[in-house]
Each structure stands twice: as C-alpha cells, then as structure tokens.
Amino acid sequence: MSTTPQDTLHSDKDTESLLGATVRLAGDSGDGMQLVGSQLTNASALAGNDVATFPDFPAEIRAPRGTRAGVSGFQLQFSSEDIFTPGDELDALVVMNPAALVTNIGDLRDRGVLIANEDSFAGKDLKLANLDQNPLESDDLKKYNLIKVPITSLTRTAVSEVKNADGNTLGTKEADRCKNFFALGIICWLYGRNLEPTIRFLNDKFGKKRPDVAEANTLALKAGWNYGETAELFERNYQVQPAHLTPGTYTNVMGNQALAWGLVTAANLSNKELFYGSYPITPASPVLEELSNFKNYGVKTFQAEDEIAAICSAIGAAFGGSMALTGSSGPGIALKGEAMGLAMILELPMLILNVQRGGPSTGLPTKTEQSDLLQVMFGRNGESPLPVIAARSPSDCFDVAQEAWRISSRFMIPVIILSDGYIANGAEPWKIPDVAELEKISISHPGPIEEGETFLPYSRNEDLARPWALPGTETLMHRLGGLEKEDLTGNVSYDPDNHQYMTNIRQEKVDRIAHVVDPVEVSGPASGDLLVLSWGGTYGACITACRRAREDGMSVAHAHLRWLAPFPANLEEVLKQYKKVLIPELNMGQLSLLIRAKFLIDVAQLNKVKGKPFKVSEILKRIRDEIELLK
C-alpha cells in the first residue's frame, strides 16, 4: 500500500523548521522500544525524510527487567538532507526507566530534549538500576531540556475504557504494555510525524485477533500526541521538510531484508532457483528467516544441522545448478573454512555471506564489528584466494547481492559477501527498482557433446571460467574433487608444474575481476591532503565526516571500497593522489594491513573495537588531527 505524506492531526503550537534530528528511544528490553523505533522510522520515511537507524539491544532474550544490562535502545536520524548515519549526538532522548537514563544520557547533546517516564523513577526501579538517588533530581540534568512525564499512569488512563472480547477492561500489565506507544505519540507530536501509518500498522497486526490491543495502543499513541500538544511542557514543536531524494517509489528496508531481496532478485534475473543452506546465528538469522518466506519465489531454504553442513549443502546445490548460498556470522564462518577451500578448488559459483558481529570467539554477539576481513581472506588452508565484496548500508545490500552473483557466475568462483550487525539491523529508505529494468544475469550451461568429442571440465573461457556442466546432461559426466586437479581434464594430478600452474590460475581469476568491477570512486577533491578510505558499514560515517571536513575548508576526499579482493584496478592510482591516507575501521587495522602490504603506503589508522559504529565526530576529529599534522 502506498501513501503520500499527509497530516491527520495539526498542532497549534509554534513550529520550528529543522534540517533534521537524531532521536533515541530507550527503555527496558521488555518495553518494546525496537517496535516503536521502527514505527517512528517508518513515519519519518513516509514524511519524505531521509532516515538511518541504529537498534541496540542486549544479548539476552529477556535481560533482567529494569537493570542496566536490560536496556534496549533504538536510535534514528531523519533529515531533509541525505544522511548516511543514525547520527552521533542525540537531539532528543526518551527514557522509560532509570537504567535507560544512566546508560544513555551521555549521548544527549547539551540543551537536548530529555523525556523521562517519571512514574518509574522510584524505589524498585532505582534499585534495579543500582542507583541510590533519583537521577531526575540530580543537577547533572540541568544542562538538558528535561521533561518529566508520568507515562505509565497517563497510559493507564488512556486505555482504561478499552474492553477485550470477554467485555473486561485490560489488566494493568496489558495496559502498561502500551506505554511505548504513548512515548511514540509524544515524539510524533514533537517532530510533526503522522500517526496514520502507525495506526494502520496496529490495525494490520492486531486488528483481527486482538482488536482490543490495537485499540489500546492507538489510544495511547494519540494520548501521547495530545499530551505534547496540550501540556505546558513543550514550548514548540518541530518540522522537518522532505529530503531531496531521487524521484521514485520508496520503502524502508533493513539490511538483512534488502540482502534477502537482492538475492531473490539475482536468482530471478539469472533464471535460477535460489538455495540457501544456513544455520541460525545472530545477526545472520534474519536472512534465513526472510528467505524461508519465499517458497513461492523458487527459493529453497535449508536449516542445516550446523554451519559445515550448511555450506556443504550449498556446494551440492551449486553442483546441481542452483544459485547457491550459505551464510553465517564470524564463529560460523570459522567452521566453514575447510569447505570454502573445496568450493574454491571446485570452481563452482556460489555465495558465502558473513554478517559480522563483535569477536573474538562468541564475543559480543549482538554488537557490530568489522573484524572478519582477514578471516574471510585467509581462513583456509593452502593458497585459496576468493573474491570479497562488502555492503556499505542497508539498502546497498540489495545491489551487493546481485553484483556478487554476477561475478560469481561469470567467473565460476565462490564470492564472499561481508555485511555486519550495524547494516543488518539498520534501516534506510530505498528507491524501489522496477525488476523488469534490472540487468539480466546470463548464465549458460554446456549441452551434450558429439561422440568422439571429449568434455573438459577444467577448460576455460576468456574469463578463465570453466564450464558449469550440470548433472543430468548426457555425455558430460565428470567427477569433481578436492585433490589438485589436472588442467583441462580435472583429473587428480600430483604433477609439480601443474600444481603451480593451477595455483597461479586460481589467483589470476580473482585478479582479473578487478578489471570488470567499477573503479573506486572518489568524492571530494581528486587530489589533495587526505584521503579517507573506508569499507563496509563505516561508509556513512566516513562520507559524512569528509563532507563536514570539506565544509570546514579541509582538503579531504573520501573513497569507499566495495571489493576488498581484488582491489579495484585504479586504487593505487587514487591512493597516490593524496599526501596521506586514513583508514577508519571497526577492527584493529585489517584493511590497513592489506593496503600496506599491497601498496607499501604508510596509512594512518583509526581503529575502534567497542561493539559500536563510528560516530561522525570521531572520524572528523581524526581528520582534523591528520590535516594538522600535514601542515
């Protein structure tokens, strides 16, 4: 269903125009912050703003109620300009309990709006948050625009009339579950967000089975809005104009969803069935879950017994002619190393997805990190080079999936796709393409040969790709395997020169990809003081920081790597145009290592391993320092 931005409720207070704002909703993980966060995102996108989100929740399914460990947050930036990150400092923060206040207040800017559910700043809640005193009374909050709202009691009142199917009113527990929508209502009022999409969502979701729940939440939402409008607490509200996005139809996508959609699209464009062999793991599971809905799109999902079986099943499916894919996160990818080596030597096309999370070992499963780059480059025995592509944002996952399959099927080589927890769970507007207009992916399989001819499964075309002969094809019977294979025939060979030759060819295949993928593009001056080089999910923070730096008069360009292996053909040339190269990474310097080794350039590193994405300001500060040093 398509809607255009329209107001249903009009505020009579003063309205100030803003370029954009960054808002965070924080509460207990049982408080439903993620849910209202995504509703707010949706409403903002529908208002024509550019948006970017950052959900941040505890590792536990239900972390202990009310504790600091149990706090769940959802951050959103919306803007009338195009933006690339969910924002650094918060313009507004909603806290549903004391634990949420103390763990989030540090990110609120001075004079920022702080909305606190004052009903929960007492006794037990303070204790659960390990607090002796009520922080709302503390002088520390003076620098913020603190607005105390008895959200719990107001919500109870708002829903007090709602009756369930049995004609009873809601219990306190159920009534309290609507608190989050009350809070959302306030924020919607504050930033002039339309309530209608949220109301529609509530009706779609609960309307049939639990009309009482739909009604209660809607009432809470509206009560929140009205509270903002009526209470004397707010002086004004704000308005954010639509962003200047390319014309078209938009929807909001999350990274894992866009990835799943991109994969189905790639399968469709190449006329293939999609096979996904996977084993659940945070934050990659949603890809499996999303794809398992698509049974009527020719998608087969296989929840294997473990990650090894998952990749092996995908290799089997690739042998059979499917567009095959396996996916996991770091610990699962570690298990796939041996089979990845086999896939490489078999020279079958397939995709291997790694949605990275905080490591090492089990690490920080729900947090983001970019620390698997070297693992995917080198985590296999022997010389087994594979191409690696990384998505840079939620919507980019859609394109990356297709590009990866395009290369994989053309070169007959498994391709590794990197994403990360930040991209996977983040959301942004996406201009919906017309599938009919997307470039087809043409794949051919050899047909039967004449008597007297010999089929050579390891002969190669101009891309060094071998033929993808499918079981079931008469006369092409052949055997693949993990022992070194003779050139052309693919028979087992222990010949020394053949081994060297095949090793070279396999590397050469990866190298040649550099010439068919897009060259790296630079935004900013084509030469100058500093080049910020990024990859993966840090794209947004880097491009934004570079823009700001240029606005401040610095000579700073930004380049972003889509392919990590091979590097695009023009990369060296680009790097040479700047006095200094800065590589910000959410790891200890993995791309830096590769760049240093390849180009012998003394890059500056900005490394962060905290389970959190970069703030724009962190990068900007480092840019300033580097520019200063160059003077």
């Binding site: 996108a45 296989f302 017994e305 089997g316 693949l480």
Partner: protein, 343 residues
C-alpha cells in the same frame, strides 16, 4: 534427446581413471557389484551422482562413469542433501567409510538419516582408517592394536546399524564385499527405496586390517555366523540350516531346530514393522555374543521424504499465494512517492 534408452552394461559404468586401491582390497568387489547392478535400474548414467568424503572408499566416484564428487572428510551426506534438494530428479549415492561416516561425519549421517532424504548411503566398514595408514576407527573392536592404539583400543565401538535405527532410519541393510550376489541385490533394494537407504558393507582392508571379517567370509564358518534375513521368513541359519533365533521376552536366543523347536517358534523377520524395535534388536546381534550377524534388509518402511516435502511445500505455498512477484514484494510494506522537484 534419444527416445528409447540404450541398454547399458556394467562396463558402461566404469570411468577411464586408473583404479588406485591396493590389490586385493574389498573395495574392488563393491565397485564391481555396483557397476553390475546399476544397469538393472534403468536410470541413465547422467542422472546418477556419486558423492563421497575422504578415505580409500571415498575414491569410488572417480571410477564411475556418472557425475561425481569426491568432497571433504565426513561431509558427503551434507553435499548430497543439498544436491538432492536442488535436483530431486537425480539419483544420489553417498559412498563413505567407517571413519568418514561414523567418526568425523557422524553428525551429518545422523541428520540425513532422520530427515529421510531420498538418497542411498553405502558405508564401507573395514574397521580401520585405510587411507591414513591404519589408525583405529569407531568400529574397531575393543583391544585392537593399531598405529594409534599400540597397547590396544579402549574405545567402546559404535554399531552402525544400531545408530541408524536410533536416528529414525527408514531403510537399514547390511551386506559383505565378497558375498557378491547378496551385495548386488542389497544395493538394488537400497536404490529402490524411497528415502534414506543405509547399507553397511563389511569390507576387507587387506593391508591394515586383513581378516577383520573372516568370521563372516571364511567358507567354513560363515554360515554359522551369518543370518540371512528374508522378509516374512523365520530366522534360520547355520551350515545345515538347523539353527534359529527365538524371542525370549525382549531378548533373542539361539536355538537348535528339531529338538522340540519348530520353525514356527522362531522369530519371523518383518522388515516393514512400523516400530523399529525389531530392527534395533537385530542390529544388536553380534558374533562375539554368540549370535549370527544379520545380513540383508533389517528395515524398510515407507515414510515421507525430506526432498519430497520441500517440493510439496513449495508447490503448496505457490498454489496458495501464486508465483512470487518481486515488484509486489518490494511494495508490501509502506511506500511513498518522491516526486520530481518542480523548482
């Protein structure tokens, strides 16, 4: 292309690769019986795929003129599952060894069996690691001295058939490398079964574990040590077919026929028993405990296959929802229009 299928022979199923097993290895015989049996099935060679792990036995696919994959150690069932899901039209065989299937590959074996993927598994059990030159395996008997157990193994061995039955197997059988007719027939039964067929073959490794099965292959004694199962028939064995298996409560016992014991007193084989308890009981009978070891089909029951289920579910969902339309999918959630700017 061609309309009537050419009649194939065993030789047509042989590839052009030199066979690299040790002279005298039991693997040769299994290969020969496979090649001989396959033409009976009438499945064209290009529709057949052999997938193996790593081990001497796992070289098998190289010697078959079909499609094949010599994969990695222990994982053949997983490759085969993926292939069969992608291509239900193919006949898929898994060739594996006691180390490959039961040691490193135990988990995949367990899961392919319980899922009942429609493919055929042949486990070459030589009770040793052949390819790596003679370490003990999960089927090596206790006390076995091998390269890695110079003072004798203290492991309690696995029983492949008990394991299979414990994992919900729908087809379980056993045969012997040198008992060639029986082997051929057993492989054929396996091929015909819809679902995962699990066949254990006693295989002699004459280099590292020669004679491991001599009790079951030596002309003079084998009849006393083997119980050839036939569906619906009483369990009789022995050179003179004068011994039988009788049930005593839940436990089997060996009885001599004639001395007051009639054929009708014996246990009758029922490979189709819904409850797998009989198959389990049969799998427990070992020569070391004074029983003959059953060969033939212990269990063969009908059950929906996993690959069948996958296809059926796709069809069902498609029938229900219609063929997926990407353009519609992308517009499923809230969407909004951005107009070209007029300024």
């Amino acid at each position: 292309m061609s309309t009537d299928l050419p009649v194939l022979t065993a030789a047509d199923f042989g590839s052009d690769q030199d066979i690299r097993w040790c002279p005298g290895c039991g693997d040769y015989s299994i290969l020969a019986q496979m090649k001989k049996m396959l033409p009976n099935l009438g499945v064209p060679r290009e529709k057949i795929v052999f997938i193996s792990g790593i081990g001497c036995s796992s070289r098998f696919p190289y010697y078959m003129n079909t499609y094949g994959m010599h994969s990695i150690h222990g994982r053949a069932p997983a490759f085969a599952t993926g292939l069969k899901l992608a291509r239900p039209d193919l006949q898929v065989w898994v060739i594996t060894g006691d180390g490959d299937a039961l040691s490193i590959g135990g988990n995949h074996l367990m899961h392919v069996i319980r899922r009942n993927v429609n493919l055929n598994i042949v486990l070459f059990n030589n009770r040793i690691y052949g390819l790596t030159k003679g370490q003990y395996s999960p089927t090596s008997p206790p006390g076995k001295r091998t390269k890695s157990t110079p003072y004798g193994s203290i492991d309690n061995p696995l029983n492949p058939l008990s394991l299979a039955v414990g994992c919900e197997a729908t087809f379980v059988a056993r045969s012997i490398d040198t008992y060639i007719k029986h082997l051929g027939a057993t492989l054929e039964r396996a091929a015909e079964h819809q679902g995962t067929s699990f066949v254990e073959v006693y295989q002699n490794c004459n280099v590292f574990n020669d004679g491991a099965w001599s009790y079951a292959t030596d002309r003079n004694i084998k009849a006393d040590h083997l119980l050839e199962l036939e569906h619906g028939k009483p369990m009789i064995f022995g050179k003179n077919r004068d011994k039988g298996i009788r049930l005593n409560g839940m436990e089997p016992e060996v009885v001599e026929l004639g001395k007051g014991v009639q054929e009708d007193d014996l246990l009758f084989h029922d490979e189709k028993a819904t409850e797998p308890t009989l198959a389990y009981l049969l799998s427990r009978m070992r020569v070391d405990d004074g029983f003959p070891e059953p060969i033939g089909v212990l269990r063969s029951v009908e059950h929906p296959t996993y690959d069948g289920g996958v296809v059926a579910q796709m069809d069902e969902v498609t029938a229900q929802k219609g063929k997926g339309d990407l353009n519609a999918l992308f517009r499923m959630g809230d969407t909004w229009e951005v107009e070209a700017e007029t300024t």
